[in-house]
Structure formats: C-alpha cells, structure tokens
Amino acid sequence: MSETENPAPPAAAPILELNQVAVTARRDPATPVIGQIDWCVRPGEFWVIGGMHGSGKSDFMAMLAGLSRPHRGSYRLFGGEMSGTTGEELLAGRRRLGLVFDNGGRIFNHLTVAENIALPARYHQQMPPEEITARVQVLLDATELGSWAHQTPGGISRNWRQRVGLARALALQPEVLLLDNPLAGLDPRHVRWWMDFVARLAAGDALTGGRPVTLIATTDDLRPWRKAGRQFATLHDGSWHTIGPMPAVGNDTTPMLRELLVTETGE
C-alpha cells in the first residue's frame, strides 16, 4: 500500500512552542539566565528537565506558566503568543495550565488544606458549593490528604504540603501540568507515591477528565524519573540541551548528565 493511500497520522499541533527564547531571572528581569531555547511539546508528552541548583529551572517554569516574559524570542502556548500577552488572555492561558511549585508547593498559609484546593474552582467556576466540596473531596482522597483537610499548612510536613500544591494545581483539570522539582526534600515513600501518581496522570486519570495530561517536570536528580516514554532535556551553564527519549539518556556522555544520574554510592 502506498503512503498516499494510508498516510501516517499527522503529528498533533504543539501545545507549547519556544523559538529562540531567552529566560530571565524573576528577581532581576534584566539578566538572562538561560541563553536560547528551541523546543516544542505536543499533547500527551512527558518531559523531564534536569539541572543543578541555580541552573534556572524555576525561572524557566515560571516563564512557561506565564509568570514572567521571555527576555527575547517567541513563546506560544495553546497556539497563542505569550510574549506580549496581558490581561484576560494571559489569565485564560494560565487556567489551562497547572503549576506545582518547589519547596513546599507555596500553598496559602491563611487557608486550610481543603480551602487551598477549593480556591481555584471557587474563583473561576460558577459551581454550586456542594459540587466544589465533592471535587475537593475527590482530590483529597486521591492525594491522601483527607486527615489534614481542615488544618492550615503550618501544621503539616513538607511532604504533605507538596501534595497540597499538587491537588491545588489539579483543581481546574489542567491540560498541561508543570512540576517544579517536586521531589526535592521528600521522603523515599513520598517519592514513590509521586512517581506512581504522575504515571497515572500521564496515562489519563479520572481526576483530569480521563485524558492524558501533558507533563513537564524539572529535577536535580534524574534517577527517579528514568522511564520509557519520557523525553529528557537538561539546563546547564545557561544552555538548553535536548536529549530525547530514554535510550538517548543512556548514550549521552555529557558530564553534567552523568552527574544528575549518578547515585550516592556511585552506581
């Protein structure tokens, strides 16, 4: 059969596309921390971006989430140019994208765990309170946070605060989920839980309406993330380096990548 009779399915349009983008530090928008990124992410992909402390991972994630602008270049999210977008268009883009912050998830200290998770839905969606309560309960159950539902974040450990950040990011059923170094400082048991949970999200879970979520995670330790079907890239010395799928990681001899993969025992 010829190719014209049975064409290969066209690649889905990119959800997220960066052309010659330079990323700046949030504290100092005049200083680029990452030189040039050419990258595109298609629906359902799972990207893991490795980088040492201070490599600009959080600044990069903030830019992807629309919290800062690219220093130069073009950043398109869901087909719309984000570089010059302001106001409602920008907010609309942010609502389709969830961000889990590093270092305890930056959850709101004046609200309880349940109120933190409910806030995005209460603010953006005209839903009856019972429906919001039901959705929050589903997220609390999925993240095993039920026991802490009515506590303020000050009373719970970092392991669980990070999960509150995850549940809050999932409240609006985002199409893209950004995870900024989510495993940093977590106990091994919680790391395993996160790995299982993101695998569920990547495959499509009822929490996100059954469709696979496009995932982008940053990390300073690539080991837990090594799995077939994921794509890898690194940030080092202000440069972006696309590696590709899992087999390419094994073949890549970049010293920094070896460092991100090496175990404490040197395995």
Binding site: R26, A62, R94, R106, I107, F108, N109, L119, P120, R122
Partner: protein
C-alpha cells in the same frame, strides 16, 4: 558659602525616592480602582466573604479600644475645657467645642491612626510575608488577580471599617464629654447639651465625615498593600516595609485632613 556636594546628593536622592514612591502609590491606587470596576462581578462568592472579614477586622474588632479612646477623649476635651469655660462664663460653647474638635478633627484622625496601628501594620506583614514566600506568584499561577483577591477587599473593608468606628468614637466621646461635665457640676442639662451639639452640626459635617473617614481607610489600605505587595520582598525586608507604610500612611492622612480643613474654611 557653597552648599556641600554630599548634602545636595542626599537631598537629590531623597527627592527622587519621594517621586518614585508617589508615582508607585498613584499607579497602584489607579490599578486597584481599575480592578474594582472591571472585576466587580467576578468571583463574588469568594470576594464578598473576604470583604465581610475585612470589615469585621477593621470596623468591629477594635471597638473596645475605640470606646476606651472615646471615654478618654471626652475627658481630655471636656475635662480641660469645662474649668476654663466656667471661669469665662462660656459654658454654652461646650457643644461647639465638642463638634469642632471631636467630630471634625480628632475623631476621624484618631480612629484612622488606631486602625493603622492595629490593622494596617498587620496588612503589610501578612502581604509582605506572602510575597516573600511566593504565595502571590502562586495566586497568579492559578489565574487569580492578587489585586482583586487581596487588595480590593482590604480597601473596601478598611474604608467602611474606619467610617463606622469613627461614628462609634464620636458618639462615645460626646456621651463621655457630658458625663465629665456632669461630674464637675457644670450647670448644663442634657437637653441643652444636645441642643448645643445639634446647633453646631451642619449638613456639610456629615458629608465630610463620611468622605474623610472612607478616604483615610482607602489611603491606609492602599499604602499598606502597596508596601506588602507591589515590590519583590525578602522576609528580612518586611519590617522595613511596615515602618515605611506607617510613616507614609500618617503623612497622607494628614494631607487629606488638611484638604478637608480647607473645604471647611472655604465653605
């Protein structure tokens, strides 16, 4: 004698700082006003309870302190004036003195200072800490406008709170003023005292009282929120921001007061 260059530099630096602060405060006030009107109907189920919380915080919780201050004010004004007026045979002016000092000047200003010290400082600390911990960025990532969610309820709450507290303070001071006069055997019947007060009050007093107290509340809320929110803060910078916010709030409230005195003089 030539002026030392260091002095010129110092004055120049201070002047530039003043211009930048005025510009920043003005821009922040305009943004808040814009958000208030453009998002009047957005997320009312979230914003309304927050407004109620802020009204309770600024207008109800300091009530005990305000009533204590009212009693003290009645004592200070009447206690001091009565002996003087008795000697001069001018007791018929007690009502006029109370209206001029308590209703027009001291009542609104003292209430504003009380609310500034109790609620305004807490505003800067809360918002500054939230900013330093990245919670404001987390709000933006969820597509929630921090000015709408955090500033608008505080401005409305503080404006209405100071207005209502001032009314309580004035009523309390007028009552305690009569009590002190009664204790000093001043030959003044309650009916005469009330007639004196009513005779000294004009329609303009009620209008200016409302405008002035709401103006004080708006100024304190805008200045304290500006210092807590508008610029990136580190935790160690929050104390400095609080001190600056208090000083600038006092100065701006005095300027507004002077403006209303001019209106009285021209009326």
């Amino acid at each position: 004698m030539p002026v030392p260059r260091s002095l010129v530099r110092f004055i120049g630096r201070k002047l530039l700082e003043l211009i930048r602060t005025v510009q920043g405060l003005g821009a922040f006030a305009l943004i808040t006003l814009g958000v208030f009107f453009s998002k009047f109907n957005v997320a009312r189920e979230v914003i309304r309870p927050m407004i109620v919380t802020q009204i309770t915080r600024a207008g109800l919780k300091p009530l005990g302190m305000v009533l204590f201050l009212a009693a003290a004010l009645g004592l200070v004004v009447i206690g001091q004036m009565v002996s003087l007026f008795t000697r001069l045979g001018a007791n018929e002016y007690l009502g006029l003195v109370m209206v001029t000092t308590v209703v027009r000047e001291l009542g609104p200003l003292l209430t504003a200072l009380l609310v500034l010290s109790r609620v305004g400082t807490a505003n800067v600390i809360e918002l500054g800490t939230a900013r330093a911990l990245g919670e404001i960025e987390a709000l933006e990532a969820l597509g929630i406008d921090p000015v709408h969610y955090l500033v608008v309820p505080r401005v409305i709450g503080m404006a209405l709170g100071i207005f209502s507290l001032t009314v309580y303070l004035i009523l309390g001071a007028l009552a305690s003023g009569y009590l002190w006069a009664f204790l000093q055997d001043v030959p003044l019947r309650p009916g005469d005292y009330v007639r004196q007060l009513a005779g000294a009050l004009h329609g303009l007093d009620f209008i200016i009282l409302a405008l002035k107290t709401c103006g004080f509340g708006a100024i304190i809320a805008i200045v304290t929120c500006y210092h807590g929110l508008a610029r990136p803060l580190r935790l160690e910078e929050v104390a400095g921001a609080t001190i600056r916010a208090v000083a600038q709030s006092v100065i701006l409230c005095v300027f507004l007061d002077a403006f209303f005195i001019l209106i009285y003089l021209l009326a």
